[in-house]
Subunit: 225 residues, 2 copies
DNA sequence: TCAAAAGTGTTAGATTTACACCCATGA
DNA sequence: TCATGGGTGTAAATCTAACACTTTTGA
């Protein structure tokens, strides 16, 4: 193969994953202590290097799979982070992705193996490199997205109560909403289906379980929260 | 210096600039025919490679300066584009940025030198590599941004008429708006200052010229269009 | 004198917000 | 029997959208 761009400098390229989960009415991110030098022991996102024969997105999916054992997670690019000295070891440009996961689906064994934990988004410690900035940007993007697309269901079990859904919105947006107004908006969205099933976990009386009907959503697409 | 990431593969990294301008009531992008192999002669964005000793953002600013002779342009990242075969020559990952320019400020000599031209966003031809996708994404981001931040003034002369401003919004959003409702919203924003100057270019009667008062905006920040 | 763009308010409809009580159940 | 979370409707306020005529002036 002919070499076209012979004069140019090549650069290390990595991906970093901001994995959001919802647990105990809080929005959380999955982070761990860095296991390599430089920066060993610092809080860090989970990441990996991009290989020459895979797209950045593939690298991100591979990294997510390594960490969670899951494929086809909801994942969106946050952006490229490219300060010269962002990594103390060597020049590394990183492309951040955020992903959404239902915490209950996450394999505890893998979690233990990678020594990562769910940390409340409001209590994220100081992190390695520019990872705080990445988390912040990811959260902003996710907050925007959740207003216009039904991504909340990625963070919940397939059956959920309206109170769970509401608490999720409150956690993501950082402010409480009125229960009746919230439920009115849900009623207008036919693709959020009421089932006949009752959840008895969270209350004595029990609450109806709902599910997201993806097919119906694809026909209607009138999402607004 | 110690090498930390010895095993990893390095990749060519470039930046591509989507430069938006506003001319004849149309939103336009600045593009030219590619001057190097592979892809010589195809329509292309203006870009450049990222050097090892500069941030991606610096590379983008340098590239914009090369093309326009201007510094401190409004510029935002669109994202990283990283398919393996996006560049037919060699594996190149590119980070796209969009920038806003007042067309009248753009040096014609530089434009001729680089052989770039303003093309209506609605009539962008098929382009090299994934540049159509980059433009599309850039436009989406810009459309979102213009709703909540006063970036429109980057595309206009420092003095402008309300009709110009309205036409700009219409061009960006791709739909017409009601003149009276538009002007009502403008009146609520004190940082869009009416001057005593009259523009006689666009009408016999003449129209008041307005200016964006940045200091006043920074105090109020209640932008909404 | 007329064509072309500038400028200006009102009203109906839609959307959003605020708000309080009864229900069902397990402990 | 009572504490806990589940479930429900209405009215006021705000915001949005639709709409038409007069003014100025250069050609």
């Amino acid at each position: 193969m002919t070499q076209f761009y012979i004069e140019e400098q090549k650069i290390l390229l990595s991906v970093d994953c901001i994995i959001f989960g919802f647990e105990q009415n809080k929005l959380k991110v999955l982070i761990g202590k860095r296991k390599m030098d430089p920066g060993r022991g610092e809080w860090s996102l989970y990441g990996g290097f991009v290989r020459n024969d895979e797209s950045i997105e593939d690298a991100a999916n591979r990294t997510l799979f390594e960490l969670t054992g899951m494929r086809n997670m909801y994942m969106r690019q946050v952006g490229a982070f490219g300060s010269v000295n962002r990594d103390p070891g060597e020049r590394v440009v990183s492309v951040a992705y955020y992903a959404l996961i239902n915490v209950a689906d996450y394999n505890e064994k893998l979690q233990a193996e990678h020594a990562v934990e769910w940390v409340d988004i409001a209590e994220v410690p100081q992190m390695f490199s520019d990872h705080n900035e990445m988390i912040c940007k990811a959260r902003q993007l996710m907050q925007q997205k959740i207003k216009t697309e039904p991504i909340s269901f990625q963070l919940l079990p397939s059956l959920f109560t309206l109170t769970q859904l509401q608490r999720l919105y409150e956690a993501v947006n950082g402010e409480e909403v009125d229960k009746r107004n919230f439920r009115k908006r849900i009623k207008d969205m036919d693709f959020i289906e009421k089932t006949e099933l009752i959840d008895k976990q969270s209350s004595k009386r029990g609450a109806y379980l709902y599910r997201f009907n993806k097919k119906m959503y694809n026909e209607e697409k009138n999402f607004k929260l």
